[in-house]
Assembly symmetry: C2
Homo-oligomer: 230 residues x 2
């Protein structure tokens, strides 16, 4: 076993045993190196991996924001991993879109009508109804709306996967937007569909909401010219 993996396992053990929890701080790199009898370099390599996985956040200086703190951001890990593998062209974008439809349909049909996240989603829709909204701003709100729907289903894993899928193809999606023949018409349609989805969920019509979401996403990508199977 390589040295940095030893450090990694030690930290994972501390997490499993509850000796290290979210919000807690790792020992300083130099201290940890001495404790585990390895070089600081190896400690740093382990911490880098944890950072890439969204498990810790490293901050210089001193005070509450400094040091290496345990966080929990599964979306970051999954997102960058997916993005890298899309770059290697071993994960087709069409598969990502298909998976997004699958997860989001499920979330729509399992979202609880009284979920607090839906209130936030409704507020986002109001913002999107503003006139003369810039395309990028609209798309940013769109992402947040869809993530809010996913959160409303109350499954942390699904939420994280949804977020990572969105993150891995945001670059792709904004390029696709340029293909749209008439943005204003598309935006108007998207707005209407969003309201339809939210209403369906609030009326406890999970199956209907799932169908609307699937049609919403597939319609957008089809209009923008991405070819994919369903």
């Amino acid at each position: 076993m390589r040295t940095h993996q030893l450090v990694l396992h030690w930290i994972e053990g501390q997490l499993s045993e509850g000796k290290l929890a979210v919000g807690g701080r790792l020992p300083a790199e130099r201290t940890l190196a001495e404790q585990l009898q390895v070089s600081r370099t190896s400690v740093r390599e382990a911490i880098r991996i944890l950072e890439a996985m969204g498990v810790v956040r490293a901050g210089v200086g001193s005070g509450p924001e400094a040091g290496t703190v345990v966080i929990s951001d599964p979306t970051a890990a999954l997102g960058s991993a997916l993005r890298l593998h899309v770059a290697t062209q071993h994960l087709p974008v069409s598969d990502i879109v298909q998976t997004r439809v699958l997860l989001e349909s499920w979330a729509a049909s399992h979202a609880r009508p009284d979920s607090p996240e839906l209130t936030g989603a409704a507020r986002l829709l109001e913002e999107m109804d503003a006139d003369g909204m810039a395309v990028d701003d609209f798309l940013a709100l769109d992402v947040r709306f869809h993530l809010a729907l996913a959160d409303a289903a109350g499954n942390a894993v699904v939420s994280a996967m949804m977020g990572s899928l969105r993150e891995s193809i945001t670059g792709y999606a904004s390029r696709l937007t340029a293909n749209l023949p008439d943005w204003d018409a598309t935006a108007a349609r998207l707005r209407a569909e969003h309201h339809g989805i939210l209403d369906a969920i609030r009326n406890d019509d999970g199956q209907g909401a799932a169908k609307l979401v699937a049609a919403h996403i597939e319609g957008y990508y089809r209009e923008a010219g991405l070819r994919h199977s369903t």
Copy 2:
């Protein structure tokens, strides 16, 4: 931007532009450090992250197995990320099981009846029918059977997520097995259910297969004592 991120972005760019593909080799660490005008330390930190993400494999010595080679193993990245976040107790195991049901049901209903992966799945079932099979061996084949079903749906993202979900809870699952009141009876039931699922897929009854898969998984965890919502 931190130095190792510069290296990371450079490599990601090479991947996106196709200058670096799966099977290709990165320049030697010392060479890369000189090219990008950074220290070898920073190059190594970037490579460590890529290694953790399942994008490269590093090997010492010389020859075809040596050097840093581009691979593509999304499952590794997602799996270790999920496992770490389960350790922080910010990803409930019940959510993982629920997501597994969701993905696997979808895969069962979208698997093509003539998919070559199903042939492999059938062979696995034959092996599992052997008498006096050790529990661990049975479970290992079980994992491969379920992954084969996921692969049969032809979506790389779903396959990777399925694999990572299994990986993140294998430790948990094998502990659960000890709770089973009568392993032989359970194993017999699992075998029968497996055959039922495979038959449903081969008869082009996707909806039926999905229902059977969901019941199969939920039944197992319920019997083993994991409490979770559906």
